[in-house]
Amino acid sequence: MRTKAAAYPYIAWGMLFIAIPLGLIIYFSFTDSAGALTFDNIIRVGKYSNVVVKSVWLSAVSTVICLALGYPIAYYMSRASAMTSRTLLLLIMLPMWMNFLLRTYGWMSILENSGLINQFFGLLGLGPFHLINTQGAVVLGMVYNYIPFMILPLHSVMLKIGNDVIEAAQDLGASPRHVLTDVVIPLSLPGIKTGVILVFVPSVSTFVISQMLGGGGNQLIGDIIELQFLGNAYNPNLGSAISFVLMLIVLLLMSVTGFIGDDLEENLI
């Protein structure tokens, strides 16, 4: 068929600009600067194991907080009138239209030692509290930037849960808690899965949030990758090896949650 040929330019483009670049990451991971095969880079990533653990831990905490804070909001929106739900959706998405560097910069001026929170406490004669350049500030930045990615998939899954299903459970004598644990949560599981991936992946690979809100003392995987490619420590081989490990972490999470599979397409849209 001739129609299939319409996809050929894209296939060529994808080979050149999607497949080969990823192949280059793997190639650079296992070679030295002269191009000889080596495992040194991968072994050297071990030196950064504390950074890897910290990144995974802070992202996991942020993901759990996003789920806990976002779940009630998504549920409320799915039960509200079409008008209310539409307005809320708009209000939640609107900040995402503002550059995320700027939003994070906004948090800097709130959390700084001479920032707004400390000015407020200063009026009461308290503080200043050390808020910025802490792990807490990094988690706050992750939650703030990525919580819409948790709420949106949850909301679209919950819209499909009919009120009749919930009423049926209530009629059959389920308490509000059982309606939640036995009906709503199981039915919203696909949304939870997508939300977890959409929050965890950008969190674990960020370098902007950790640089702006974490100071120098809270380096994450993204920071050390950036350092190898654009920083003083230019070493694309080591940088590729760390990127390779990051890719493995993401793939592992996706296969554990069953995100990759036959329904991948459904999960993404």
């Binding site: 280059l24 909001i73 239209w97 990758i225 397409e265």
Partner: protein
């Protein structure tokens, strides 16, 4: 009742959390001093912004890259979706998996992989005497690549929903292949193409990470410029940019919303009219 009050309060607190940094940015864009206390009203930072050559250059770069990349990605992605729709089996699965890669991969990996490719290409090309450097071309290639998957994923469902016999009908009525394609297929999948284009445009304008790794020394995108500005910390010009962007998006969204509501009302009126006339 108590439940309702509780959820209302919670929503209020959440929205305050969401908008706090934005409101702070806007407030301080009008602050006379560079410090963190409000000393007086000024619009100095706005006038400074518009005479800042670096900002204007970055704005221009951002818009050119976003439009060129989105247009190319929309054409290539629509064609790819049409071809993919006819494919089956392992080759289709393989290509679809390749398409998902830029979406599910962390942005930093995508950015770094491009940087490696362009560095290797630069070395190869300069050894045969062709000059190649980081700049508009690398930015546009990278943006096209991460935009195409969104176009494919918004056009494919429309193709699947399309009634295949429509094309046959058009050809029975005397269309040739090309006419059937432009008059029927394109018309049917238009909403998907438009969604894909708008998504591509939004992602391009908003992108920081991939641009950061593929930009040259000469031309930066707005996000990359903002990033270098935040490193210097205090510069109320950043606040002025944010305010302008925020107000711009707000106006666009309000206009779109009003337009949608008007079309809905028109449709409703038309339906009512039909019902009355039809005597149902």
């Amino acid at each position: 009742m108590r439940m309702k009050k509780l959820s209302g309060t919670y929503l209020g607190v959440f929205l305050a959390f969401l908008y706090a940094p934005i409101m702070i940015l806007i407030l301080f864009s009008f602050n006379e001093s560079k410090g963190r206390t409000f000393t007086g009203f000024t619009t100095r930072w706005y006038s400074q912004l518009f005479s800042d050559a670096a900002v204007l250059d970055a704005l221009w770069t951002t818009l050119v890259v976003a439009f060129v990349a989105s247009i190319v990605a929309t054409i290539m992605g629509t064609a790819a979706a049409i071809g993919l729709n006819k494919m089956e089996g392992r080759s289709k699965t393989l290509i679809m998996n390749m398409t998902y890669l830029p979406i599910i991969n962390p942005e930093i990996i995508v950015g770094v992989s491009f940087m490696l490719l362009f560095v290797v290409a630069k070395n190869l090309l300069s050894s045969v005497g062709i000059p190649f450097g980081f700049g508009w071309i690398t930015l546009i290639i990278a943006h096209i690549t991460f935009n195409v998957p969104y176009v494919i994923l918004s056009v494919l469902p429309k193709l699947r929903q399309m009634d295949g016999s429509l094309v046959d009908a058009a050809m029975d009525l005397g269309c040739n292949h090309w006419q059937a394609f432009t008059k029927v297929v394109i018309h049917e999948i238009k909403p998907g193409i438009i969604t894909g284009f708008l998504m591509a445009l939004t992602f391009s304008v908003d992108d920081f990470v991939v641009s950061y790794f593929t930009t040259g020394a000469k031309h930066q995108t707005l996000s990359v410029l903002i990033y270098s500005m935040t490193k210097k910390r205090i510069s109320p010009e950043i606040n002025a940019i944010s305010t302008i962007l925020f107000v711009f998006v707000l106006v666009v969204l309000i206009v779109v919303n009003i337009m949608e509501r008007k079309t809905l009302e028109k449709q409703k009126k038309a339906r009512e009219y039909q019902l009355r006339e039809g005597g149902i």
